[in-house]
């Protein structure tokens, strides 16, 4: 077979370049492959609920700084969507990499039980951060915000803005996520306790801001006199604010969002959103690391920790509440 001249030329160049490189780097030792885990540092794996969400990124920052203080190493993985079919293979792979402890935010109360139980059976300490599962007995500890209280506090914010009462709507994520379900429950219970307000129910946005926007514009078409919308997480809040802006109802509708990512803070400053209930993801992360290390050292662990929240409004966003805003990058 006669070779193509261009291919021969590329091969010749490649071969000579290769020879030159090996000649030059001759004595450079490959050195030990790093990952520099201190000989007594624990290996902690953090599995987020979804990658790219500032709530989980802030949690990652908290985990990494707490781990650094404790001399442990952290690897972080997250599925591209908040979905158990995507999270399960990740959990399996992480378990195969044999960490000492896993901090995980399960994406479904039922579907993630079996894979995480398998992790616990393999001797790995499992700490549930943010969300939980139906039967958390295999986990060392569960740490989350007081989501029900947060939902009730959101209703108080709407009540303050509209003391005369009216219709309110909840935009949640997907049923079966323990945190957003608890927030919606807290909000709806508070609404039930007040006759002046009518509960229009819960709509699910599947963690897509575009879906949340569509839901809100459709709801406003059906009930133009909605006075308050409670958006149960970061993406729901982003989308709901967009929906209200599209419908041109920024002045009449009060939106209270859960979570305080940079886009939501921008919407807060613009006035489309009136209040944000910020959780403390970094604290959840730090507590998670502390509980994991306590379990690994054989010390006493706390089975359930509830962290607090801050209500951010336009007045305090640049003042007292500045640190409560979530980070999109660590450091």
């Amino acid at each position: 077979m006669k070779w193509k001249k261009s291919v021969l030329g590329v091969l010749a160049l490649g071969a000579s370049a290769g020879l030159m490189l090996t000649g030059c780097s001759g004595g450079a030792s490959s050195g030990g492959s790093s990952a520099g885990a201190g000989s007594d540092g624990y290996k902690i794996a953090f599995i987020q609920g979804v990658a790219g969400d500032e709530f989980y990124i802030s949690m990652q920052c908290g985990i990494e700084s707490a781990a650094k203080d404790a001399g442990a190493t952290v690897t972080t993985q997250g599925p591209e969507k908040f979905d158990p079919t995507l999270q399960k293979p990740l959990v399996d792979s992480v378990v195969a990499s044999k960490p000492d402890a896993i901090l995980v935010a399960p994406t479904d109360v039922k579907a993630m039980e079996a894979p995480l139980k398998a992790a616990a059976d393999a001797g790995i300490k499992v700490v549930l951060v943010d969300t939980t599962v139906d039967d958390p007995s295999f986990a060392v500890s569960q740490i989350s915000s007081d989501n029900k209280g947060g939902g009730a506090a959101a209703f108080d914010a709407i009540k303050e803005a509209h003391p005369e009462g009216g219709k309110v709507l909840v935009v949640s994520v997907d049923p079966g996520i323990s945190t957003t379900d608890a927030r919606a429950e807290g909000f709806q219970e508070a609404v039930k306790g007040d006759d002046k307000f009518t509960d229009l129910g819960v709509q699910y946005s599947h963690n897509e801001p575009s879906t949340a926007a569509e839901i809100v514009t459709a709801a406003l078409q059906k009930d133009p006199d909605i006075v308050g919308i409670f958006a149960a997480n970061l993406f729901a809040a982003e989308g709901s604010a967009t929906g209200v802006k599209q419908a041109g109802k920024e002045d009449s509708v009060t939106i209270v969002g859960f979570d305080a990512g940079p886009a939501q803070v921008k919407q807060l400053k613009e006035g489309t959103v009136q209040a944000l209930v910020a959780q403390e993801p970094a604290t959840i992360g730090k507590d998670g690391v502390a509980q994991a290390i306590a379990a690994l050292n054989g010390d006493k662990v706390e089975a359930k920790i509830e962290t607090g929240f801050t209500i951010i409004t336009k007045d305090n966003v640049d003042g007292d509440a500045k640190d409560a805003v979530y980070q999109s990058k660590c450091g």
Partner: protein
């Protein structure tokens, strides 16, 4: 026949090419694209094993990778048949969800927790899948609507109907006999039952495709539908059967997914159809019909699964896996195109030769 006419005949001329074959079986094996992709898979496994010997190269890890790929393998068999007929089936993810929903609703209504309920659920799931597949097949063969459009439509309809049936709320009551045995049970203590089921489907699929008249007709229809029709193959009925098989396997995958996750996971499976199509194409099946193997599909499935697993274990961002799979996919179709065009010119079907040899002008 002049050289010009031969060049215009397209995929039919691969048949002429294989008639000229006088190579030994070993040489033919090495040239098969499925085998070349298998070598790629082995190389990937070797690289990850070298980087992480005590975490990646463990039987327990391999077990989990196989278990997670099992549902996709079942879908891949159906998709291979469909793509060989130069069609496509985008609706498998939604049919999976819909059949899971109908099955879970039936089992919940029946109430029991035993094998009686479970078997009814399995039959319902597969039956519903076959119905959707037949629906697709009838529209594609009788109404002559392109497969891309029909299956795109049934993707939306099946998912929408599933959400209507459940009100958007996942059903979480699955009989524990299913989750304990199929979902997480093992034979001989180590081999996951779900993988055994997938293996059985793969073997049956391969035998039917390569050894029966049904398989031969599938290749014929894919290679040239008009020629097959004139020779006497009942093309319309065959296409309906092919899509019914694809739907039925999606129904089977639905009950397997229900067993493994314990919930209908309505919001999931949005990218399953594209992942399966990518796996089938990477494995050497030609998108233009007429050529493909089940073995190639299985190998094509394992490459993304092994890549993701390896990246997670070695601590690389798993997003690189999507970059890698996308690149391999484009490469696989490019290789297929080069082979087809050199076959059309009457030259050898070796990709290597087409790339590096000096072409006779």
């Amino acid at each position: 026949m002049s050289a010009v006419k031969q060049a215009e005949m397209g995929p039919e001329t691969t048949a002429i090419e294989t008639a000229k074959d006088r190579e030994t079986p070993i040489r033919k094996l090495f040239k098969a694209q499925a085998f070349q992709i298998f070598i790629v898979l082995l190389v990937v496994i070797a690289i990850f094993s070298a980087i992480a010997p005590d975490t990646f190269a463990q039987l327990s890890n391999l077990r989990l990778v196989v278990q997670n790929a099992s549902i996709l393998a079942v879908l891949g068999v159906g998709m291979t048949y469909v793509i060989i007929t130069s069609g496509i089936d985008l609706s498998i993810g939604s049919v999976l969800v819909f059949s899971g929903v109908v099955s879970a609703t039936t089992m919940r209504a029946m109430g029991g927790d035993d094998w009686g309920t479970a078997i009814v659920g399995i039959i319902v799931s597969i039956g519903v899948g076959i119905l959707w597949g037949t629906f697709n097949g009838i529209l594609i063969s009788k109404a002559k609507v392109p497969p891309l459009i029909v299956t795109l439509g049934s993707l939306g309809m099946a998912l929408g109907l599933a959400q209507i049936l459940t009100g958007g709320v996942d059903i979480r009551e699955v009989p524990s006999v299913l989750t304990d045995s199929i979902g997480y049970g093992n034979i001989f203590g180590a081999v996951p039952i779900i993988s055994v089921i997938a293996l059985v489907v793969v073997i049956i699929g391969a035998l039917v495709l390569h050894k029966t008249k049904f398989g031969l007709y599938t290749y014929a229809v894919g290679s040239s539908e008009e020629a097959a029709r004139r020779v006497g193959v009942k093309v319309d009925r065959h296409l309906i059967r092919i899509y019914a098989i694809s739907g039925g396997l999606a129904g089977l995958a639905g009950i397997l997914s229900l067993s493994q996750f314990g919930t209908t996971a309505i919001a999931g499976q949005s990218q399953t159809n594209l992942n399966v199509i990518a796996a089938v194409v990477i494995g050497g099946t030609s998108l233009f019909g007429g050529y493909g193997t089940i073995f190639g599909t299985v190998v094509g499935l394992f490459i993304p699964a092994v890549l993701q697993n390896g990246f997670v274990i070695t601590g690389v961002q798993p997003f690189w896996q999507q970059v890698a799979v996308g690149a391999v996919l484009i490469l696989a179709v490019y290789v297929d195109q080069v082979r087809r065009s050199s076959a059309a010119r009457g030259g050898s079907t070796s990709f290597w030769r087409a790339l590096v040899s000096r072409k006779k002008k």
